[in-house]
Each structure stands twice: as structure tokens, then as C-alpha cells.
Symmetry: C2
Subunit: 331 residues, 2 copies
């Protein structure tokens, strides 16, 4: 048994807490610190904050520096924010402290298209520190990008890629049901879309990763988001949705080369959505159809982030993306 | 556009000829030579032998040395034999000549379990030459090993892996229908099983790759092969199968850790087999089920071998296996 990799969990929301709990289940990893800016969490016992039975023996720190003053670490698992504006300084801080970082920040999964300058700054900081930064998760990071890319390995020709993720939100946690607009009026939903605070984050990143890796030029990118409206009364543990109110959302992103539409990503998440599966279709030679069941977002994202730690530890310095690494596997 | 990678095709049977034809469809690759020991092929125009319309401007060579006397090359695509006894000296010859090699030899896909000494010799030759050797294809190389491994990336726990490849051989070429025993009596089939010349090659390699990559000890390995018998008359372009005769085969491999059966690989290939799909089931957290359609063996193996060329060219010297490399993608 080699020495466990020492991990600090940065961000203790629902995903970060689940990551922290899961790290303690892995003999190859050791949870040595936790960071969150929320005053309701800092200074309290880490185990209590993340919902663990066994004592961890350390408190939640307010800053990374504070956590590092109390423990040496190898890797930070970062789960604070989706957006560059909020996480860039945190990622740089981690790298400057001499640590590798795996982040679930959606915009970091393939930042070279939407945020090339910020990506270049992180890449530079990583190389200067001799450390590695990776953004990953189940989506972006897998279902709509690195998995379809892996499936093209058995294709002699790729004409089109379509990925549809259809999720029955009734079996998911309350914050997820809220995030997709459950119980809103259509007007409320559309107002929230207008503020830019509605919908899955990561479609441009998945699209960018696939186009870039396959060497195609993304000539045009379009996306749309619309409410999925309830036909009849829906009651969950968290929401009551009247007929005519919103039970979820449907989001579609389209990527075009100069020759036409090459990739379509459809993200559906709604209460009582009958189809709870992902479908990857590749048109070409051969035509492939792959259907996945059981890819629950929270479990899978926590797993991917934790499983990626080993790869990031072994990787060359810099800001890397999933296709740069050997396949991530359990363990 | 970067300079095309120059490829010699070594082995001009049905798969090798398909590879050669496909290489000419890729602008990133250039077919510069062809090798086969068959006197019916050597000395003839390569394009004619592999079934290409456009002239290639070179003849089929009898040896690699002869091909290299006529053209410089970067990579050899090797498709002569499944078995170490026959291919080891060829792979070593390629590496000693200073070329990278991608081979469809099943036993090379993960040789560290069944052929550790031979694998070590190839690894040494590759490192000495500063070149890379990889065995890959759709199976072994993808469906029963590197793809299931990639799927474990989104698992927090993996208790069991089951992969079933069920193929309707009626839509496949004649030699494939012959290989699975079509039209034999059950007695003929069982006699051929006894000689060891019946069944899919590669199950121990897939099993070994998965156990090794997940860090589990393969305590015991079992496999079995049985005929699939026709209930009614079957007529294909190549075979007539009477009721009671063999229409194909079913092969099952089981891998055990000390705790019990961990992985089951089921390979079914039969005429008029109703299910033409692959199923990967991972029991754990979460339980995953993935169904693949369209993974035709010949098209997919040719694609994987050709798509892997770029990765092998970039890889560190040595004998590598699929989990050592960044995901292979089209292009």
C-alpha cells in the first residue's frame, strides 16, 4: 500500500460535503483539511459540517492558507463555483501554494473556447508551480464530451454527434429540483432565464472539448432554454407543481462547422420526466447508439472528481482537460 | 496541416486489407508500404491486393526490410496473427527497425497476465529502440476492457462488472461465420474446441487489463465455450445450417478475486442471433447499465487500430496498453 494522497476539500456545499465523505471511504486518499467561507461553517468540526459519524480531528478553515497552516497536503478538491469570475483566484491560490487541483467548476472543464485568457493565466500558474489543474465531473467532463470522444475511437468516419441527457428530477435532491425551475410560473422561469441564472452550466465547454479534440472548427454555437410545463399536479418532497406551472427545463446547444450542424447537446431535467437515461448517437461509419442508465448527477460527479485525483497527481504540469489524460477509472 | 504519418501495413488478410484501404481515406496518414508472406500476394501491386481503385505506386513486399528498402516509414500497422508464438518476432523486428507499432494481435492487448516474459521482451526492445508498441482493437481493446474501465470513472464503488457482447453473425462476412462454427455438427464443434482453435481470442487479456487497472488480484480465471444450436433451417450467403447443427458459439469468462466473482465476460456470436448489441453492467454505487448498438467488429477494429496510430506516435517508449494512453478518438 503506497502512502495515501492528502486531500483538502475546498467548498463544503452539498457536492463538496459529499466529496469529503467519499474521500474518507478511499484507502488511497486521506482527507486532511476543509475550507469554506461560510461563517456558519468555519471553525466547526469538519466531520459535523460534512455529515460524518467518525471524528476527523480538524476544524473547517476559512481560507486555504489557514488549512495549510494545520496540515500538509498534496491535492485540493475544489467545489465552490461554476464560474470563472468566482473561482479563478481560488484555483491560482491553490496552484501557487504548490498543490494539484481537481475542480468540479464547469467552466474549467474546457475553458479554451469561452475563457481563453483566464485559461492561459491558470495554465501559466500551474506550469510555474509545477502542478496540474483539471476541471471535471459527470457533465461536463464525461457524458457529453469525453465519453462521446472515447466512442469515436471505433469510428472510421464521424458525421454528427448527438447527446441527450434526460433526467427524472423527482428522484433528485431539493436544490436540484429548485435549480431547474420546479413550481415556477412560465413567466418567472423566463425572467430567470433572462438574468442568465437558469440552466445547466457546461454545454459550451463540452462542445468546445469535442470540436477541439476532433480537430474541427466551431464556426457557430447556438443554445436555447425553455420550460417543461406540467400537465397535471405534481407533488414531490420539496415542491408542489400545479398544471401549467414549470416542472423542469429543456436546454439545447448546437455546434456548427462550416459544413453545417455537427453536434447537438440536449439537456432535459424535469419532475416526473419519463425517460431517465443518456443517449449518445454518432452518425458515421459505423452508426453508433449508446444508452446509459444510472448516471445520477451527484453520485457520478463526486465519483469522477475523486477518481481523477490520481491522474492529476501523475499528470504533467499545466491546465489539463479530460482528453489530455489517460482514462480516469475507479480507484 | 502537419506532415502525414507514414504507415506500413503488415499483414494483408481481410482486416489488414481493410486497414490499408482506410488509411488512404485519412489525410493525416500516408500508406507507404505493404507486407505479407503469402506468395500469392507478394510482388503484386498493393492497391490491387487490398482492393483499392487508385494506384498506390508500390508492390507488396515479402518482408518488412524489403518494404523499408523502398520507403521511409514512421509506424507499422500489424495484423498478422492473434498469438504470441507467431507475432513476437514480427513486433520485435518492427521495433528494432525504429518504428512504432499498432497491432490488432489480441494477445498483445494486455499481455502481462498470460505472457509476462514475452511482454517484458517486447517492452525491452521498444524502450531500447525508443519506440512504442500497442495491441488494440474493438475487442480486446475497447468493449470488454477500456470502455468498462472508463465507465468506472463515475463510480464511487465497483462491486461487479458484467459485459455481454451479443452478435448476429448473419450480417457478417463468411470467414467470421465459419470461425464461429456455423454449419458444424455439435461433435465437430466440440472436437474443434478440444484442439483449442475455436472461440474468440482476447477474453483473458480483457480480464487482465481490468483487474490490473482497478488494482484487484485475479485469484482465479475460468472460461467455457459451447455451441449455439439451430432450432430451424438457417440459410446465409455462405452457409446452410440444418436444425440441430451449430449456428454459432457462446463463450463465458469469469474472473474472481479472493472475495468471489468480480467480472464476467460473455461473448455470443451466432447466425440469426436476435440480440445484436453489447451490454456493460457495473454493480456498485451507482449501478450502471450501458447498451451499445452498431459496434460491428470489423469496422470498429479497423477504426480503433487506425485511430490509435496518433496516440502511439506521441506515447512514451515501451509496450503500452490502452489504459496507459489518453483516450483514443477519431482522427
Amino acid at each position: 500500500m503506497s502512502t495515501p494522497i492528502r486531500v483538502i476539500q475546498y467548498g463544503l456545499g452539498p457536492i463538496g460535503s459529499a466529496v469529503a465523505r467519499h474521500i474518507t471511504e478511499r484507502s488511497s486518499l486521506k482527507l486532511v483539511g476543509g475550507v469554506d467561507i461560510d461563517p456558519a461553517k468555519t471553525g466547526r468540526d469538519m466531520d459535523e459540517v460534512v455529515g460524518l459519524e467518525q471524528p476527523l480531528g480538524f476544524k473547517v478553515a476559512k481560507t486555504l492558507a489557514e488549512a495549510l497552516a494545520n496540515a500538509e497536503a498534496d491535492v485540493v478538491l475544489h467545489t465552490t463555483s461554476s464560474c470563472f469570475d468566482l473561482f479563478e483566484s481560488q484555483i491560482t491560490e491553490i496552484l501557487n501554494a504548490g498543490l494539484d487541483v481537481v475542480s468540479t467548476a464547469e467552466e474549467l472543464s474546457f475553458p479554451w473556447l469561452a475563457h481563453p485568457k483566464e485559461a492561459a493565466r491558470i495554465d501559466e500558474a500551474a506550469k510555474k508551480a509545477g502542478k496540474t489543474a483539471l476541471g471535471t465531473g459527470v457533465n461536463p467532463g464525461f457524458l457529453m464530451d469525453s465519453l462521446p470522444l472515447n466512442l469515436t475511437a471505433i469510428c472510421q468516419r464521424v458525421d454528427r454527434i448527438d447527446v441527450t441527457r434526460s433526467q427524472n428530477a423527482s428522484v433528485r435532491r431539493g436544490p436540484f429540483q429548485a435549480k431547474i425551475g420546479s413550481g415556477m410560473t412560465v413567466e418567472q422561469f423566463e425572467n430567470k432565464v433572462d438574468t442568465g441564472r437558469m440552466g445547466h452550466v457546461g454545454l459550451p465547454e463540452s462542445m468546445g472539448m469535442v470540436f477541439h479534440t476532433l480537430g474541427r472548427k466551431l464556426a457557430r454555437y447556438e443554445d436555447s432554454i425553455e420550460p417543461v410545463v406540467a400537465d397535471s399536479l405534481i407533488q414531490t418532497d420539496f415542491f408542489t407543481v400545479q398544471p401549467g406551472q414549470v416542472r423542469g427545463l429543456k436546454q439545447v446547444a448546437r455546434g456548427f462547422t462550416d459544413a453545417g450542424e455537427f453536434m447537438t447537446l440536449t439537456f432535459i431535467a424535469a419532475l416526473e420526466e419519463p425517460l431517465d437515461q443518456d443517449t449518445v448517437k454518432i452518425s458515421g461509419k459505423p452508426d453508433l447508439e449508446v444508452i446509459l442508465k444510472g448516471t445520477n448527477g451527484d453520485i457520478a460527479t463526486v465519483a469522477m472528481a475523486v477518481n481523477a485525483i490520481k491522474r492529476v497527481k501523475e499528470a504533467s504540469p499545466g491546465l489539463v482537460t479530460m482528453p489530455d489524460l489517460p482514462i480516469v477509472t475507479f480507484g
